[in-house]
């Protein structure tokens, strides 16, 4: 690897307004935590969590995973662990395969007709191909970049997965507590409790995204995949969702794809940096942002390209 030239890097002027997104987080309280590592110049945001929960058990892992669209490889030979009780952030420039990798974890990538996969993915040591795909997706749920609540009431959105999982259609009163619990965990309950029959599509963007998270949580997942969940949201909603993600990692393993380095630094325990389909570097967030081992990682997190 040492002798190989790194792939050509597209140097562009870093889009400063994109960094500005982090501003509200910088003004928010940091709950007394202080960064223990010196962070790179461009990443000034405080960490949102007290400390990494060390030594979480490994829930999912990819082994030499490659995803191809037709002949074109979008993900190349990626081996990556996903641990319980931590937030794993995937960062990297556009088109580097982050989202494809994420979508392969619950086999959503198979909805694309041309996609094919090489390598193995395991969930709790079991190959995910051995699981029924619906079972897999119940255990490994996903929240998308664009909030996509169904055109139903708030209640029906959260109850959707519960109703689909039930053997016979449960009554509304039976679902009530579970729906309220999921909304509570997603931090939306207080805002919508007064009117659960409210049409979901009339909520604000941030509320819609939290509703989507609540909808996923109601299904009782073990791993939660988040594909740039804040990119379509305003700073205020972003902050709420980041707090939520940090709280959620205690219950489920969280994998988040983000374009926002500050966000990754604020919430991630481990970070994987991807570039042109390869996993360039994987390690604790402090390492990736503080003292990256690879030159390309160093250049990316310091804003040399993006």
């Amino acid at each position: 690897m040492e002798g190989m030239m790194p792939p050509p890097i597209r140097r562009i002027v870093v889009d400063e307004p994109a960094t500005v997104v982090a501003a509200p987080a910088a003004t928010s309280q940091t709950n007394g935590s202080t960064p223990s590592h010196s962070s790179p110049v461009s990443v000034t945001a405080p960490r949102r969590r007290a400390a990494s929960l060390a030594g979480g058990i490994e829930r999912m892992a990819t082994h030499d995973l490659s995803i191809l669209y037709g002949d074109k490889a979008a993900v190349k030979n990626v081996s990556l662990p996903v641990r319980q009780g931590e937030v794993l952030a995937l960062i990297g420039p556009s088109g580097c395969g982050k989202t494809t990798l994420l979508r392969s974890l619950n086999r959503l990538v198979e909805l694309t007709a041309t996609a094919s996969r090489q390598g193995r993915i395991t969930l709790d040591g079991q190959d995910i191909d051995a699981l029924e795909v619906t079972q897999l997706r119940r255990r490994v749920s996903m929240v998308f970049q664009q909030p996509n609540p169904f055109p139903m009431s708030v209640f029906d959105n959260v109850a959707y997965a519960l109703r689909e999982q039930a053997r016979k259609r449960p009554r509304k009163s039976e679902l009530g507590p579970a729906v309220a619990d999921a909304l509570q965990r997603a931090g939306l309950y207080d805002e919508v409790a007064a009117d659960l029959a409210h049409p979901a599509l009339r909520l604000s963007g941030g509320q819609q995204q939290r509703l989507c998270i609540a909808r996923s949580l109601a299904a009782g997942p073990e791993v939660l995949l988040l594909d740039e969940p804040c990119s379509a949201l305003d700073p205020g909603s972003t902050e709420i969702i980041e707090d939520l993600i940090v709280r959620l990692r205690e219950e489920v393993a969280v994998v988040i794809v983000t374009h926002n380095l500050q966000q990754a630094y604020r919430i991630a325990d481990h970070v994987g940096f991807m570039y042109l389909g390869e996993l360039v570097e994987y390690g604790p967030a402090e390492q990736i942002f503080g003292s990256p081992q690879e030159q390309r990682t160093q250049e990316y997190v310091s804003g040399a390209f993006g």
């Binding site: 997706r137 009431s153 989507c212």
Partner: protein, 337 residues
């Protein structure tokens, strides 16, 4: 010094911006109003012509009583003296036949169309889909008389010779003759006739459901059939209603085909007859008009036919209103209706 000559554009007011818009507005307005006036005129004309038939019978016009065929014959043979015109008519068997054949075939076609559309959109392999879709659109354009021809040449003899038993024929021999021209054949042919257009509309509707909703449901561990049924079909309901309304309108107005296969005997099939019910002949309103069109010159008879037309017109209008009303509650959740 004289002023410089105006430019070419300034001198041709015909093409200058705003005045052209005004002319366009005027012309299009006149055209639109003209169409509206034509329709309104037609409705008024039909009702004016139909009025004597309604006024002589009152609300009983819509009720049962006697043999409609014989009543129509009496009206046709009424004396030339306007004072002695015969108007007596109890049109229930015709209305009943219309409702029966329309409702059954629309219900059947709706089920077929929704399921076929789900197959085409979600489950069909690409190659099959590329054949199916144009075929469906082609079938939607086949003239109804061709369906009628196939019905009368193939299905009617088939039902008449093989499906109807001697015992069944004898059981109703004093009431009606079972020939194969029947409610069953009418419903089958009508269903085949209106299903393609419904499939075409519903396929477009299912396809326009945002992909994000489908992926969101799939990511919750729901299989493809349930995603289609609980999310895609659910949010396409307005378009499905629209397809059903369109198909119902076509079924209501279908005359030639039904005249060919339904038997043209103004008879009310009796559900108490058991399976024989489906084998009894019927005569819907639209077919009645077509079959008797040559009698239009007899004044009271013509007025009676106009009365049938008026009933069809009102049902079509009512149908549109029902479709509109059915879509309203769906708007609440942001489904584009």
């Amino acid at each position: 010094m004289s002023a410089p000559p105006l430019t070419k554009f300034a001198r041709s007011p015909r093409r200058s911006g705003e005045s052209q818009d005004r002319r366009t507005e005027l012309v299009l307005g006149v055209l639109a109003c003209g169409v509206l006036a034509l329709v309104a005129g037609m409705v008024i004309f039909v009702f004016a012509k139909a009025w004597p038939s309604f006024s002589h019978n009152g609300l009983k016009w819509f009720g049962p009583g006697g043999d409609v065929g014989a009543q129509l014959q009496a009206i046709f043979n009424s004396p030339a003296d306007p004072a002695n015109y015969v108007y007596l008519l109890r049109a229930w068997p015709l209305i009943y036949a219309t409702i029966l054949v329309t409702a059954s075939s629309v219900a059947l076609a709706l089920a077929f169309a929704v399921l076929s559309a789900i197959f085409i959109v979600e489950f069909a392999p690409n190659r099959l889909r590329r054949i199916l879709e144009p075929t469906v659109r082609l079938l939607a354009a086949v003239p109804s008389v061709i369906y009628g021809l196939i019905g009368v040449l193939v299905l009617v003899p088939l039902v008449g010779n093989h499906l109807i038993t001697r015992a069944q024929k004898e059981s109703v021999i004093f009431v009606v003759q079972l020939t194969g021209n029947s409610l069953l054949v009418a419903v089958i042919v009508l269903t085949i006739m209106i299903t393609p257009i419904m499939i075409a509309i519903i396929v477009d509707a299912l396809r326009s459901v945002p992909n994000g909703w489908k992926e969101g449901a799939a990511a919750l561990g729901v299989n493809r059939w349930r995603v289609m049924w609980t999310i895609v079909v659910r949010s396409a309901r307005p378009a499905i209603i629209a397809a059903a309304v369109l198909a119902t309108a076509r079924a209501l107005g279908e005359a030639i085909m039904l005249a060919m296969v339904a038997g043209s005997v103004a008879f009310s099939p009796n559900p108490l007859d058991g399976p024989t019910f489906f084998l009894e002949p019927i005569q819907p309103l639209a077919s009645t008009i077509v079959i008797n069109a040559e009698g239009l010159t007899v004044v009271p008879f013509g007025q009676t036919l106009y009365a049938f037309a008026a009933v069809l017109l009102v049902s079509a209008a009512g149908l549109s209103l029902c479709g509109y009303a059915a879509k309203q509650p769906l708007k609440r959740y942001g489904i584009r209706a």
